[in-house]
């Protein structure tokens, strides 16, 4: 089999393109702002045990409801005297873990199905019915069903959020596959006798990957918001494990007395989602061959 040579011209174009994309990203102030916030959040989340001045669940009843800015408590304390800064740091960590896990799940399921649906038309209608079926169960209803069957936990929240994101992932991969299937180099590979698996993995997947990455970047903020909602309702991460969502549940009763306990975790969620959205938008524009004319 000598079909391998056909692919090389496609692969070699990737390098200057990557540089062009990076250059465009660097020139977008909003995308860079998103990137910086994300970097800080990721470093904070990874090194939370080193950075956090207190353990996330260390209660100090004598120091309850200390407002932000007080000595020793940068962002104040909650009803049990736990340090808000440490809890937000650990909560961000949980949010990022669920966000990334669920999107990985969506990728692992959505991309193969999208490739198959776009490439083999008989499979397409089967996959369409399955995605229709998933779409028929709205996110929270699906999460409710899963929580009823399997119990509420971080893992089950990530599974529910991941399942919900599969249809969009399938759709993006499928339409990229359909588009690429018509390209000359794919046709020439097929006429050279390349097998379906070879064409899909060597020619179509590498060229579809940028659209998939954009979709994944856009899916993560949705997943983070989803985790917050589920944990807030008690269907996600269970207390005392720190999560930005459960912090808000607890803050609900004391919001009038200690508004910062209700304000700060929400701001953290918003900043995280906003940073992903800004970076995702910038990435999409940078990858768009038509350039920044949106």
């Amino acid at each position: 089999m000598t079909t391998g040579e056909v692919a090389t011209p496609v692969v070699t174009t990737a390098d200057p393109r990557q540089r062009r994309v990076a250059r465009r990203l660097l020139k977008s102030p909003l995308a860079m702002a998103g990137f910086v916030v994300l970097s800080v959040a990721i470093v904070g989340a990874v090194f939370a045990p080193l950075i956090a001045p207190y353990g996330p669940s260390d209660a100090n009843f004598g120091d309850a409801f200390i407002p932000p800015g007080a000595e020793g408590y940068l962002l104040g304390t909650d009803s049990l005297g736990r340090d808000m800064f440490s809890r937000i740091l650990y909560g961000t960590r949980a949010s990022l873990i669920v966000g990334v896990l669920s999107v990985l799940l969506a990728l692992a399921v959505g991309v193969p199905f999208g490739l198959l649906a776009g490439y083999f038309s008989p499979i397409d209608s089967v996959v369409s019915r399955l995605t229709d079926l998933v779409l028929a169960f709205p996110f929270l209803i699906l999460a409710v069903g899963l929580a009823a069957i399997r119990g509420a936990s971080l893992t089950n929240a990530a599974i529910a959020i991941g399942i919900v994101q599969v249809p969009a992932m399938v759709r993006v991969t499928r339409s990229e596959t359909l588009r690429l299937k018509g390209r000359d180099y794919v046709a020439s590979a097929i006429s050279d006798g390349a097998g379906d698996a070879w064409v899909l993995l060597r020619h179509i997947l590498p060229n579809a990957i940028s659209a998939v990455i954009v979709q994944a970047t856009i899916a993560i903020p949705g997943a983070i918001l989803g985790e917050a909602v589920l944990s807030f309702l008690g269907l996600g991460i269970q207390p005392p494990s720190p999560s930005l969502g459960t912090m808000l549940t607890e803050a609900q009763q004391y919001a009038a007395q200690a508004p910062w306990t209700a304000v700060l975790p929400g701001v953290a969620i918003m900043l995280l989602a906003l940073a992903f959205n800004l970076f995702g938008d910038g990435l999409r524009d940078a990858l768009d061959p038509k350039g920044g004319r949106r």
Partner: protein, 318 residues
């Protein structure tokens, strides 16, 4: 046209059948004996036997499934294992609250989204475009349940403008009902408004470059008419589509919003049923939501093919 409708109806029906199978299988996937789960607290032999007989738990899986489907579509959704009230009555009681909330949110979101989207498209590059885009991006990034908490903290607790929670039935006192509903509806509507705004903007930008808009301008129509009549009509189709696509988010959003504002709707019923392990209610709620989603999306497809003839010509391909 007829062939397309028939095919879409067939697809919807198939999805509906698959959905009933998923819900049926879901209850069987519960740990332990389904009869025990359905019986709740009353676990004497007679009750269990009655449940086994009613749901045919000793029959084959196929027979059980068939019994489940026929019971459901005859309106028998079982009884709550907590209260003993027929699930159907619980749902009929809760649904109007959710419908009102969702419709109000939809109206607010459409008005907000269309206006800001049009503004952003017409005044390209100006500060209003920046502002509209910024608000839309925030709308996609803010956790709406948190926005609800902040609204309660500020508008209810702080300023005392709106009640923080509770519900008054629409028919008994429409004014008090709206007073309770405005804040939740605005909160639920904001997320959808952001999506509508983004789509309106991009479809409007596209429309403004089309020939028919150029013709409208060339024949001397004022800009207000060009944008308001010609370009906007195109954007309305976009909104109809988005409502179909976002229906799931609207339902999920309603569940959370009801929980925050203490509205006794479908969403609150759903969450309560999970914490009480009220399986007949969970089962009914999940199936009804899925059915509503499928039926409404089918209806939107019909509507869509009426509004936009291109769909019919293209045979409704994805």
């Amino acid at each position: 046209m007829a062939a397309y409708l028939l095919r879409r109806a067939g697809q919807s029906l198939l999805t509906l059948v698959l959905a009933t199978i998923v819900v049926f299988a879901g209850v069987r996937a519960l740990p332990g004996d389904p009869a025990l789960a359905l019986a709740g607290e009353e676990r004497d032999a007679a009750t269990l036997a009655a449940i086994r007989a009613k749901y045919g738990l000793d029959d084959s899986v196929i027979e059980q499934y068939w019994a489940y489907v026929t019971n459901t579509f005859q309106g028998d959704l079982g009884r709550s294992i907590r209260t003993g009230i027929p699930v159907r009555d619980m749902i009929v009681g809760a649904l109007p609250v959710t419908l009102e909330l969702s419709l109000l949110a939809l109206v607010i979101a459409s008005i907000l989204g269309l206006l800001t989207g049009m503004l952003a498209a017409v005044r390209r590059g100006g500060p209003s475009e920046w502002l509209a885009n910024g608000i839309a991006l925030l709308g996609l990034s803010i956790p709406h349940f948190w926005l609800g908490l902040m609204a309660i903290l500020w508008l209810s607790v702080g300023l005392g403008l709106f009640p923080a929670s509770g519900h008054v039935p629409l028919l008994s006192d429409p004014v008090a009902n709206l007073h309770h509903m405005v804040m939740p509806a605005v909160i639920l509507g904001t997320g959808l408004a952001a999506v509508i705004m983004r789509q309106t903007r991009s479809s409007m930008l596209e429309a403004l470059g089309e020939d028919y808009v150029r013709t409208a301008r060339a024949k001397g129509l004022r800009e207000r008419q060009v944008v308001g009549v010609h370009a906007l009509r195109n954007s309305l189709i976009v909104v109809v589509t988005i409502v179909g696509l976002q229906l799931g988010n609207l339902i999920s959003g309603a569940v959370v919003t009801e929980q925050i504002f203490g509205l006794p709707g479908f969403g609150k019923l759903t969450i309560d049923s999970v914490f009480q392990r009220d399986y007949p209610v969970i089962q009914a709620v999940v199936l009804i939501t899925a059915t509503a989603y499928i039926v409404i999306n089918f209806a939107i497809d019909l509507l869509y093919s009426v509004i936009d003839p291109r769909i019919r010509v293209a045979g409704g391909a994805d």
